[in-house]
Amino acid sequence: MRKKKINREFRQHLLVCAGTGCVANHSFEIKEELEKEIVRKDLQDEIQVVTTGCQGFCERGPIVIVQPDGIFYQRIKKKDIPHLVEEHLLKGRPVNDLMYVPAPEERPVPKMMDIDFFKHQRLIILRNRGRLDPENIEEYIGFDGYKAMELALTKMSSEEIIREVKRAGLRGRGGAGFPTGKKWALCRKEPGRIKYLICNGDEGDPGAFMDRSVLEADPHSVIEGMVIGAKAIGAHQGFVYVRSEYPLAVKRLKIALEQAEAYGLLGENILGTGFNFHIDVVQGAGAFVCGEETALIASIEGRVGRPKQRPPYPSQAGLWGKPTNINNVETWANVPMIILRGAKWFSSIGTETSRGTKIFSLVGKINNTGLVEVPMGITMREIIYDIGGGIPQGKEFKAVQTGGPSGGCIPKKMLDLPIDYESLTQAGSMMGSGGMIVMDEDTCMVDVARYFLNFTQEESCGKCPPCRMGTKHMVYILDRITQGSGMPEDIKLLESIAENVELASLCGLGQTAPNPVLTTLRYFRDEYLAHINEKRCPALVCKTLISYVIDPQLCGGCTVCAKKCPSNAISGEPKKIYTIDQAKCTKCGICITVCPPKFNAVKKVSPAVK
């Protein structure tokens, strides 16, 4: 195990983000280059380079933060490094060119805490992100790590712990929002000596990476939460089920577990209290349905990941038939703070029914793509405009999809909706795991519904006909609609299938799969009607319903589009007007991209067909 010398003589620290996004963007190479440059300038005794977990502002990676200055550098490339080291670290002059400039302004914002994206966030779960090396337990301990666990194990009884969590009002962050304290109490009261604890790190929603970031940035917070939960419930064995598509998270978790055991904070006789609790890591195998708790349990048992009808619930008979408590990564990560700072403090954040904060992954048509942690009750408008920086290229906001393939879309008229469990469900969507996919005027809502339904249909386990075939038939209908063969009775049929699938399916996957269809029908029915009755796609997305045309009044005859067209569909003579042969056109969109901005002659159209 690496032991880092805590040297108070370093005058500055360079924190290099090493979340998966930045790593994919070569942040490890950035780190190496920084270290080399610092040695070249003989600064290695004064400046230390540390890798941290995900900073959250993934749009702007690779990210380097200089502390204690608090200067935020973004989109760092290897070639920027000599200049950066020379100017900022040697001469004390921060480099403006590498700083964040919020669109559409022109002046950079040097300090991290002044950047809108970070300013409006409230970091509780992600409190340690970006400020410690997740592969070094001592840094976690240095930030009050494992103090809550010590309190729980030495000064509190199991009942007191549960009471505190109940009073805090913590609700499951995996999607359903079941009160966590209540869940723990149900498991605790089951008879039997053997009980299990599971951390659900399957995070299957496309576009969701909250749990990944927590595991990569601060795995100890999850471990600490689990030990406290184990004491509360009376379990001595825990499992973290991580999807195998998260190799970095698995690696950091395993290192953290090893270190925790070595320090006597996990395993036998934790902190000398006589309490034993072991954690094993189990990796998933590529099935979205294994995020469902009974399927997850089957997967851990080595069986096929297929859900079982509940009741009995896992708290009564779960893993290997024993009482089992499953919570999401984010839920576990909340626990240490609740114990350390108290339920009163925690319940002061958020709304009446939804206490605390929630991590959202803000993706899609948004300027500031990344991970944000905000108190519950914040409005959608604040997230999208204040934190997210609004829609790029000045486009109109259309809708935001929350809860991934199990959730629904929130339209513009509901932008002031406060984000909490109840209001989202009432609007037809759900909190889900926290994915927020922003859509603008160029998004076709029917296509969105088709995309999500395609996903759930592929991931269906196949056990029950309503989900297995109901979703498939909904996809057939949506395919027809987006390809121009929609029929007037399709909407009614779609709605009736959707309602029935919701009620007749065995597990949460099937029960929530129709949500995207139902909400898009509720708020964007006109788009469906346009597709069906007029064979028109208002957002100009559905390939079969759009055509690319050259506006004869704008065309300059520059020949570029004809040369670039891969299907030789464009014809004309230089300096004369060009035309696109619709029969050959494959709608790849290259012509619209290469047409010079001064002409801007290629247009996408979707005329109504009677």
């Binding site: 096929v304 297995r468 075939m469 029935n500 009620l503």
Partner: protein
Amino acid sequence: MINITINGKRMRAKNGETILEIAERSGIRIPTLCYHKDLTPFGGCRLCIVEVKGRKIPLTACTLIAEEGMVIKTATPRLQKLRRFTLQLILSEHPNACLVCERESDCANFQECIKKSAVTFGCKSCPQNDNCELQDLVHELDIRSIPFQFRYRDLEVERHDPFFDRDYNLCILCGRCIRMCDEIRQANTLQFHHRGPDTMVGTAFDLPHLESGCQFCGACVDVCPTGALRDRFSRYDKPPDKSIKTSCMLCSIGCALNINITGGKMTCSTPRNDQICVRGRFGIAPLVNHPKRITKPMIRKGGQLVEVDWEEALEFAGKKLKENRNRTGMLISPQLTTGAIDGARSCAHSLGARIATPISLHSLPGIYKLSQIQGQVAFFIVNTDMVGDFAVLLLKLRKKFKDKAVFIVIDATRNSSARFADLVLNPRPGTENNLIRILTDPRKILNKSGIPAAAIETARSLLKGRKIYALFNAENFIPAGPSKSVKPVPLHSHVNAEKIMKNVPNDTYGTLLKDKKIECLYLIGAAPKLNRKYNTLIVQDLFLPDFDCDVFLPAAAFVETDGSIIDLEGKKKQVRKALEPAGKSRSDEWILANLVRVMNSKLKRSVRAKKSKNGQQKKLVRPSAKYPLQLVIRENTYGYRSKPLSAILKGFDRMRHDRYLWLNEKTAKKCGLQDGTYVNVVSRHAGFKLPVKIDPDIPDKTALLYYHPSMGYIPEEPVRLECIK
């Protein structure tokens, strides 16, 4: 007891009862499809959903355990709508043309024959028409149309395995076949493949059932609610109009069977209470209806067998037997009713004839009542394929002891019980008793078995603290003397073995055929290979023997007669006449009684046979330079009367290859042999020709043979192989 309310009515329920169980016993109808009373509830088909007060989403009644105060509704309009929706979805992937056609009733009068089409496109061309649970549910829920587009899976019908076809275009993925194979039969051959809409039922790696450990017991076929799995022999027949109970006579277990009859023809046999094996399930109907079955009495005239009437045949036979008084040998099969065996004994006695059976080893001390096996147990399975030969018995034992019994296979060659056993030991042929002693005797014993010390240690640790029982077919192995630590459970594969051991003299076919004084043979259900001429051969059976006979008396099959049998545990069971004997065939008892009448002999009181000796230990001769291969012989238990099943039914030949010589690759290569090549097998006292079957589980320098008396005299001594040019 718990109080709940169903449909407004107060009911009492036992702890642990599901809502479905309560409803069924109270006469409340809840439709089901994937539910089966013997299998764990699946909750997959969603048809049995019920509304539970306080819950938004309906729950499946088959999985829902009743709790105090539950309020349930089983038949609201909302539930009906959901059930119809679900069934319509199922039908969108199942050839449904006929199910919702308004001309259904007209069609019935005119389209009988299209059932024989290659593709099932609707009920009329499906073998399960009028016998299908899906059809019944469609009528019950009154489905007149299906609003979903139809998706035909377009899978090829699987016909390459014996006995039953699989048309997965009709499968509705209820999972019953999988759970039946896993939970009840414990063969674990089937599972769901893929997921979502591509889910399909199949074997591991889509291998044929012959290579997947399938025992072809037909349990999956019997629980399939649609026509996806169907018995090949009865495919084209209408559902049975009669079902008669009887006991199976194909082995000593004597399972209870239903003989299903349509229009006077036996179409198939199915299990009545418990389980049966491939013989009882797929071996009887094709046998009884076999085209090569002879159902007319015949006498050889002018070198040819000619049909005659019964009186003439009996007269002729009776005359010949009386002429050969004191020079006749009677060979009888144990697969006769006890009445027939008694009849044969009296006949033999009045003729002064010797009588013989294929049972070579008589009573062995041991446990015959299986209920005596109790406690913390371990089983040795010695030289016996329990899965193949005593499947139903094995299931009973595994069910009784669940996962708590230890099974150790001790067999020099291949044994399909290795699939589930805790440990498999392959000692050198003939050293089984030595190995058993080593495993159970704490003293130091010289190890002649060739099993390494590590395996012995593993075995010993498995056996610690357990009562040990040795299961073995008495024809394949004789335990060495009484042992304190191992209790023998001798299993005779022949029905009526106990009766024969008690009442019939200790003669085997082999000894009788060596008797030079015998000039005439009367063969009842027996046709061993003969090695010399006899002046008269009288055969009483269903099929012609491989040699020329003088008189053929057609016997009725066991489903065509009344009688009794004695099973493995010595219990008497009834055999019932389910249908009239085919053609002019008659029961053995009738033939014997009338033969005696015709011979006009007075029946003297039969003399009790001498008390038989205990089985002798077989001394195994070691191979030599001249005969380098050790020949291992195991009894072929798949036979009916004179014929091995594989000789008359192709499915059994493909499944068992039990009329082959089994060698491993190395041995076969030495003589340039391949699968199916014929080879001459020569030993000191015998010679015969067989095709070869190559299998990796045969040890080097060894050849395996499954023995049936129709093969003639084959001693278990070393052999050499001679290529046939």
